[in-house]
Symmetry: C2
Subunit: 221 residues, 2 copies
């Protein structure tokens, strides 16, 4: 009984990791599609999102089944509830990767990102993918230190987001309003994607330590 139970908890955890891997790849591919105006790649990212949604639904049903059948308490209970929350973060991250791909489709054959922001957007996309890979790892290892590190690494995303705004607010901006709107949205999508990766890490910290991330002393890092 206990064994079957822990197998079920493991299956939920595996499902989360699979979701994180899928959405991590999706944001990477969406970034390439965006920068290259690659319509086919964008379409494949858009259609992959249904798989992420299916995984989430499946995971939610599993979690509810565990709650109903095994009636876990204490840490096990928190783990199941935390999984539900993490799956919502990951599902939303998938939506955001899809948004990047849809913007690519909307502007095709034009490119949504002007050349002088290409490097910044590429770095945002790569960082987003990396943060999600770290989130997947944190789910597996339950390593609080790595989770705190992920939070710190996200600071770079905020910097990159500021770079985007500096370009937008610069008097020398010469790409017109439509591109300004696109770049504003793209910047926001990446920032939110990264927020969800951070959120997964924070939930893990809370699960393991019982303390919210913002209450931990800086020396915990």
């Amino acid at each position: 009984m206990r064994e079957a139970y822990h197998a079920e908890l493991d299956a939920i955890s595996d499902g989360l990791v699979e979701m994180a891997n899928l959405v991590g790849s999706a944001i990477g591919l969406a970034t390439t599609a965006l920068l290259d105006a690659d319509l086919q790649l964008a379409e494949s990212v858009i259609s992959t999102d249904a798989k992420v949604d299916d995984l989430q639904r499946d995971l939610e049903n599993r979690a509810i089944a565990v709650l109903a059948r095994q009636q876990p308490v204490a840490t096990d209970l928190r783990q199941v509830v935390t999984s539900l929350r993490m799956s919502a973060d990951l599902e939303r991250s998938g939506d955001l990767a899809q948004h990047v791909a849809k913007l690519t489709r909307m502007r095709h054959p034009q490119r949504a990102v002007p050349r002088d922001l290409r490097r910044t957007v590429l770095e945002m996309g790569q960082l987003a993918q990396r943060l999600m890979a770290q989130a997947a790892e944190v789910i597996i290892t339950q390593d609080v230190k790595a989770a705190l590190q992920l939070e710190q690494d996200d600071d770079r995303m905020d910097e990159l987001h500021r770079v985007i705004f500096q370009h937008l607010m610069d008097e020398k901006w010469q790409h017109g309003v439509e591109t300004a709107v696109d770049v504003t949205l793209v910047g926001r999508y990446y920032e939110r994607f990264a927020d969800h990766a951070v959120s997964v890490a924070q939930r893990l910290i809370y699960l393991v330590t019982g303390e919210h991330a913002d209450e931990l002393p800086p020396t915990a890092l």
Copy 2:
């Protein structure tokens, strides 16, 4: 025992309604602050959000306590899990109201919204507040018909969002890039806020009918 149990479920439901009321008022006040460049009002919206976050944390702890102590099954279990999800939607809605207020603060004493979009933004703000009021009602009444109606009413938000984009993409746009960026973000904040109200309604539909909203026949309305 059963009585204490249902009192706890009711307390969770009351907490959700309180959250919905708070964030509904917050988006209304944030809209007024935005349109009038009212810094004091914006600050009060920003500081209210901590209360929403506290409510959510409180609600999450209550839900976990019910799961641990009462070990609900079937519908009761789904209700607790649904509450956790709804509280996440409502917490996020509070963040979005706060974002509108922060944009107001950032542009003060200027107004972020140009005069020719004032009416559209006002309607978005009022609709957002109304949708959240409907969501609160749906939580109380568990009325599937009202929940489906909320989904339909959200179509107007999408229309308004399109109006914003039409203005932005119009060659006659004369408010510059900074305002275009602000208006892009504002439009997105309202749309996402409304999405979360719709999400609350959809979760209620699933709780009551066991079917996802997109699987219900149109005649269900």
